[in-house]
Amino acid sequence: MGERMPQVSLTVNGKQHTVEVEGRTLLVELLREKLGLTGTHVGCDTSQCGACVVHVDGLAVKSCTMLALQADGMAVTTIEGIAAADGTLHPMQEMFREHHALQCGFCTPGMVMTAIDLVNAHPDGLTDKEIREGLEGNLCRCTGYHNIVKAIAAAHPLMHGQAPKAAE
C-alpha cells in the first residue's frame, strides 16, 4: 500500500493517453472504466467469446487477455475508432447493417474488429468456409452467424478497393 501505481502510455483511436493502472488491470478494463470507451464488451472470463476484440498495432487482440501495461507505447483501435472522421461507417460496419449481421449488438464490436483483421489478412479473397474458420474466437448467440458470414464476404471487395457486391 502507498506505492505509486504504474503508468501506461498508449494511443487509443489516435488520441494519446497516460493512465495510472494496477498491475493486474486488463486492457479492456482500462478502455471501459478509465477511458469510458464502453463499446468494447466483456462477455466471458475465459477468453472464449471475443466480445472484447480490439486492434493493437493493427492486429485483432482479445483485450480481456492482455494487461493494460502490456499495451504501453502501442496504438489501440476500438469499435469507436473505425468510422471516418465525418461519421461515415467503415465498410465492415456498413455491410453488417446491410446484411442484418447483428441483433442484440453485444458481440458486434468484437465481431466487427475480428472481421476487419480477417479481411485485412486475406487480400486475395475469403471463402465462406475461411470466414467461418476465421470467426473461431468469436461467439454470437443471436444470428446463427449466417448473416455475419454474408456481411464479411460483402465487405471484402469494398475493403480491398473493388466494386461492391449487390446486397440481396
Binding site: 464502453t38 462477455g43 468469436n138 448467440r141 443471436c142 446463427g144
Partner: protein
C-alpha cells in the same frame, strides 16, 4: 426513401449505435459515487451454513459493507416470488418453498448467494470476498431429474417430501387408456430433453440507485420486462411502492428467456443502495451466469402412441419428469405444464391425449423458460416419436405425417389438450420445405457421400407452437399471477412526428424498426420521424415485456388499437376544420379526406390543431393527440412449419458436419422479412446447438461440470451452415395484424429435424434413438459399438 411499411426489409434503425460502440447496456451505465457488489456464492451443492464470519472481509481495504441473508431478512426483505401456481391432480396447490434472496441457514445449489461484499471498486469487493470465513456442513445432494424421485433421495427442502413440486395432469385418461386397449400397435419411446444454459452474450448486470432527495429508487437491469421486475421486487421483496421505484432495462444484449425473471441480484443492489445511500452495481462474470442464470429444458419423458393398423394416431400418452432446480424461478411451473403438455397434439389430429407431469426439486440452478419454453420439449418428443413410429412400422416418415395432419380446412381446430388453433396449413409448409431441400433427390446424395466414407442423413420435423400467451382471464384461471395483455402509448407530436411507448422490450429483435414500420404503414409518417421507446417504467404506462414471441402479436396489436383511437380523434378534428361530417372523413396513410371531394388535411395539420387549439371543437374534444391502449388477446397465436436438416457423420470420428438446413415457417403476416429471417436463423442455431453440442452437466454430487465456455459447447460459426429460411402464410384470425410471432420457431422446430437426420444417417446401423446432444464422442462410441455387429452380418 423507398417503401418502408409492412412487408419491407427496412435496414434496422438501432444498428448505427450498436455498430459504432454507442449501445447503452446496463454495465455501461455508471452513477456518481457508485459502489460495486461482489456476490459470494456457494461452491457446495447442498450444505448447512455452520458459520459465516464477515468481520475480516468488512475490514478489508475499500470495503463499505458486507451483507448476509440474515441482514436482509432482519430488514423485512421478502423472498423471491414465483409468478405461476400449478395445482396437483388432487387439486391441492404445488409446493412452493421459500427462496431467500441470499441463502439463510442452507445453500441448495452451487451458485446460491451466501453474502454480498460492497466496495469502492470491483476488485476490492472481489478481493475482500476471499476473506469471508464460511464453514459448511455438507449435506447429501440430489443432482439429476431421475434421482430426485428415487426412494430415500436427499430432500432439497425439508418440507417438500420426495422433492415433488407438483404432480399434474391434463387430458382424458379413460379415453386414452381405452384407445390403447384397442390399438393395432403401440410405439413407445423414452427420451430426455437436455438441460441448456441460455448464455445471452451480455452477462446479467444490475445497478441500484437511491435518490436521497426524493427517496426514489432506480434499478437499471438486464431485463426483458422491467414492469414485471418493478411489480415483483417492489411488492413482494423490498416493499417499495411503484411510485417510488423506477426500473430501467436499457439496451439488453440478448435474453432468450433468461432475462425474464426477477433475480436476487436486482433486489440486492436496490436494497443495498437504499441502505448505503450510494449507487451499487453488480455485473456477472460468465462463471456466475452459468451458476445463477435460470437454465432451460431438462425433461425426462416416456411417450407412447396408440396406432390403427394403417398408421392413424389413436391416442398419445406421455409421462414427463421436469427439473425445477433448487428453487422456483419466476415462471418455472408453467413451462412443463401449460407451455408443454398443451402442445402435445402438435400438427396432428390425435383424438385423445393424456399427459402427466411431475416437477421435481434438485440441488441445481433453477430451471425456467428458455427460447421456446415447453414447446421445444413437446415438439422434440412428438417429432422423434413420429420418426420412431415410422422406424418401427416401416411406414414412410413423410406419409405418416401427412396421414395424421390436421387438414387445412379443419380450422378452428380444438385439440384434446385445451388449445384451439385458429389457422394453419401444415401440408403447405411441408411441401415448400421438402422442395427447397430437394428431399426427393436425397438418396443420390446419400450414396455419393457413402462413397467418401460419410454417413449422410436427412431429417424433417413438422411442428406447431403457441405464442402470445393469453387471454389474461384464462391464464389467471390456470394459475398465472399476472395479466398477459400489452400496452401502447402513441403520441403524435404537434408537428407530426410520432413517439410510441411500448411495454414490450427489445433485446435483439429489432423492435425499433419493426414497430416503426407498423406505425408508418398505418399513419403515413416516414420511419425516421417515428421513435420507439421501451424499457423504462417511468416513461411507459405499463407492460408485460417480451417473451413467448408475443411482442408483435400482443404489443403490435396494442399499437394498432392506440392508432385507431388517434385516427378516430383525428377525424373529428378534421371534420371540424373542413366543416364536414365526421362520417364523411376518410383516413389513408397520413391524409384525412372528405369523401368524394378534393378537400384534405395532413396528419400534421391535425396534430398542430390538436396542440394549438385555436380553431378546434374544444367543447366536445380535449386538445392533444396522444392515446393509450391495452390489448388483451383472445387466444394464443399458432405459428408452425417444417424444418429439414441434412448432415453427414464422419464414420471414423463420429463428428457431424451440417450440410443444409431449410426452415419454412408460417409466422402469419410478415412486417420485416429481413428481421424474420434473422430471428429464424438465430433460433435454428440454438436448436442445432441443443441437438449436437450443448449440455449442462452436473456430476452426481451436484457440481456443474460444464460451467464455462471452455466446457459448455456454444455453437460457433464453423459448427453451423447457411440456414435457408422461407415463409408461407396463413393469417392469425384474431389479432388485427394477422401476425403470429417468429422469435422461437427456429429453436422449436429444429432439434428434432437434426436428430431425425442423425438417426437417418445411422440407418444401416439399426439405431432407433439417441438422446441429445449427438456429440462426436457419443456418435463415435455408437459407431464403435455397432461396428462388430455390422461386420458379422
Amino acid at each position: 426513401m423507398g417503401f418502408e411499411g409492412i412487408g419491407a426489409s427496412v435496414r434496422r434503425k438501432e444498428d448505427a449505435r450498436f455498430l459504432s460502440g454507442r449501445g447503452h447496456y446496463t454495465d455501461d451505465i455508471n452513477r456518481p459515487g457508485q459502489l460495486y457488489a461482489f456476490i459470494k456464492r456457494s461452491d457446495r451443492p447442498h450444505a448447512r451454513i455452520a458459520s459465516l464470519q464477515t468481520a475480516q472481509a468488512a475490514a478489508a481495504p475499500g470495503v463499505v459493507a458486507v451483507f448476509t441473508g440474515q441482514d436482509m431478512a432482519a430488514d423485512n426483505v421478502g423472498g423471491l416470488p414465483c409468478g405461476w401456481q400449478i395445482h396437483n391432480k388432487d387439486g391441492s396447490p404445488m409446493a412452493e418453498p421459500p427462496h431467500p434472496v441470499i441463502a439463510i441457514g442452507k445453500v441448495r445449489h452451487v451458485g446460491d448467494p451466501v453474502a454480498v461484499v460492497i466496495a469502492e471498486s470491483r476488485q476490492a469487493a472481489k478481493d475482500a470476498a476471499e476473506l469471508l470465513e464460511i464453514e459448511y456442513d455438507d449435506l447429501p445432494a440430489v443432482a439429476t431429474t431421475l434421482d430426485a424421485l428415487e426412494p430415500g433421495a436427499p430432500t432439497v427442502h425439508d418440507d417438500v417430501a420426495g422433492n415433488v413440486c407438483y404432480d399434474w395432469h391434463i387430458g382424458d385418461k379413460g379415453t386414452v387408456d381405452a384407445a390403447f386397449a384397442r390399438a393395432a400397435k403401440v410405439v413407445k419411446l423414452e427420451l430426455t430433453n437436455n438441460r441448456l444454459v441460455p448464455n445471452a452474450m451480455e452477462p446479467r448486470a444490475a445497478l441500484g440507485d437511491f435518490d436521497t432527495s426524493s427517496g426514489d429508487f432506480t434499478l437499471y437491469t438486464t431485463s426483458q420486462n422491467p414492469h414485471v421486475i418493478r411489480l415483483l421486487m417492489g411488492a413482494f421483496v423490498l416493499h417499495i411502492p411503484e411510485n417510488k421505484l423506477r426500473v430501467v432495462a436499457p439496451d439488453v444484449g440478448g435474453g432468450f428467456g433468461s432475462k425474464i425473471y426477477h433475480y436476487a441480484e436486482e433486489a440486492i443492489v436496490t436494497w443495498a443502495a437504499g441502505k448505503l445511500r450510494r449507487p451499487v452495481k453488480w455485473t456477472a462474470e460468465r462463471n456466475e451466469s452459468f451458476m445463477s442464470d435460470a437454465h432451460g429444458r431438462d425433461h425426462v419423458s416416456t411417450a407412447e402412441m396408440a396406432l390403427d393398423a394403417d398408421g392413424t394416431f389413436l391416442a398419445l400418452r406421455v409421462a414427463t419428469i421436469a427439473n425445477m432446480g433448487a428453487y422456483l424461478s419466476t415462471f418455472a411451473p408453467c413451462v412443463p405444464t401449460y407451455l408443454y403438455a398443451t402442445l402435445l397434439a402438435g400438427v396432428y389430429k390425435t383424438p385423445a391425449i393424456y399427459a402427466e407431469v411431475k416437477a421435481v426439486f434438485t440441488n441445481t440452478v433453477p430451471v425456467d423458460a428458455y427460447r421456446g419454453a415447453g414447446r421445444p420439449e413437446a415438439t422434440y418428443l412428438l417429432e422423434r416419436l413420429v420418426d420412431v413410429i415410422a422406424h418401427d412400422t416401416g411406414m414412410d416418415r413423410v406419409e405418416i405425417r401427412r396421414k395424421n395432419f390436421i387438414p387445412a380446412d379443419a380450422f378452428p381446430y380444438q385439440t384434446p389438450v385445451a388449445l384451439q388453433y385458429d389457422s394453419g396449413n401444415y401440408e403447405m409448409t411441408l411441401k415448400a420445405a421438402l422442395d427447397a431441400a430437394d428431399f426427393a433427390g436425397f438418396e443420390a446424395r446419400r450414396a455419393a457421400a457413402r462413397a467418401k466414407g460419410k454417413l449422410r442423413g436427412i431429417g424433417i420435423s413438422t411442428y406447431l407452437e403457441a405464442c402470445g400467451i393469453a387471454p389474461s382471464a384464462v391464464v389467471g384461471s390456470l394459475g398465472a399471477r399476472a395479466g398477459l395483455y400489452e400496452v401502447a402509448n402513441v403520441k403524435v407530436h404537434p408537428t407530426g412526428s410520432i413517439t410510441v411507448y411500448t411495454g414490450t422490450h427489445s433485446h435483439g429483435q429489432g423492435h425499433e424498426t419493426t414497430f416503426a414500420q407498423l406505425i408508418s404503414d398505418q399513419m403515413g409518417v416516414p420511419i425516421d420521424q417515428i421513435e420507439v421507446v421501451h424499457g423504462d417504467t417511468s416513461k411507459i404506462p405499463f407492460g408485460m415485456g417480451t417473451y413467448g414471441s408475443r411482442s408483435l402479436a400482443v404489443g403490435g396489436s396494442a399499437m394498432v388499437k392506440a392508432m385507431d383511437k388517434i385516427i378516430a380523434k383525428g377525424k373529428k378534428i378534421a371534420a371540424h376544420l373542413m366543416e364536414a361530417a365526421v362520417e364523411d372523413i376518410e383516413f389513408d396513410k397520413g391524409t384525412f379526406k372528405v369523401a368524394g371531394t378534393d378537400k384534405s388535411k395532413t396528419l400534421t395539420d391535425i396534430s398542430l390543431a390538436a396542440y394549438v387549439p385555436h380553431n378546434y371543437p374544444i367543447e366536445e374534444l380535449e386538445p392533444g393527440l396522444d392515446e393509450t391502449a391495452f390489448y388483451d388477446p383472445k387466444n394464443f397465436t399458432f405459428p408452425g412449419g417444417c424444418h429439414v436438416c441434412e448432415l453427414e457423420i464422419d464414420q471414423e470420428t463420429g463428428v457431424v458436419e451440417m450440410v443444409n438446413f431449410v426452415a419454412v415457417d408460417d409466422v402469419g403476416r410478415v412486417i420485416n422479412p429481413m428481421i424474420v429471417e434473422g430471428q429464424v436463423q438465430g433460433g435454428v442455431a440454438q436448436g442445432i446447438g441443443q441437438a449436437l453440442l450443448e449440455n449442462a452437466i452436473y456430476d452426481s454430487n451436484g457440481q456443474l461440470l460444464s460451467g464455462s465456455f471452455m466446457d459448455y459447447t456454444m455453437p460457433r460459426a464453423n459448427d453451423l451452415v447457411n440456414i435457408s429460411v422461407g415463409t408461407e402464410i396463413t393469417l392469425c384470425t384474431h389479432n388485427p395484424l394477422g401476425v403470429k410471432g417468429c422469435g422461437e420457431v427456429g429453436a422449436i422446430g429444429s432439434p428434432p429435424a437434426v436428430m431425425n437426420a442423425v438417426i437417418d444417417a445411422l440407418k444401416e446401423y439399426g439405431i432407433r434413438h439417441i438422446d441429445m446432444p449427438a456429440t462426436g464422442a457419443k456418435l463415435w462410441e455408437i459407431l464403435q459399438a455397432n461396428r462388430p455387429k455390422m461386420a458379422a452380418e
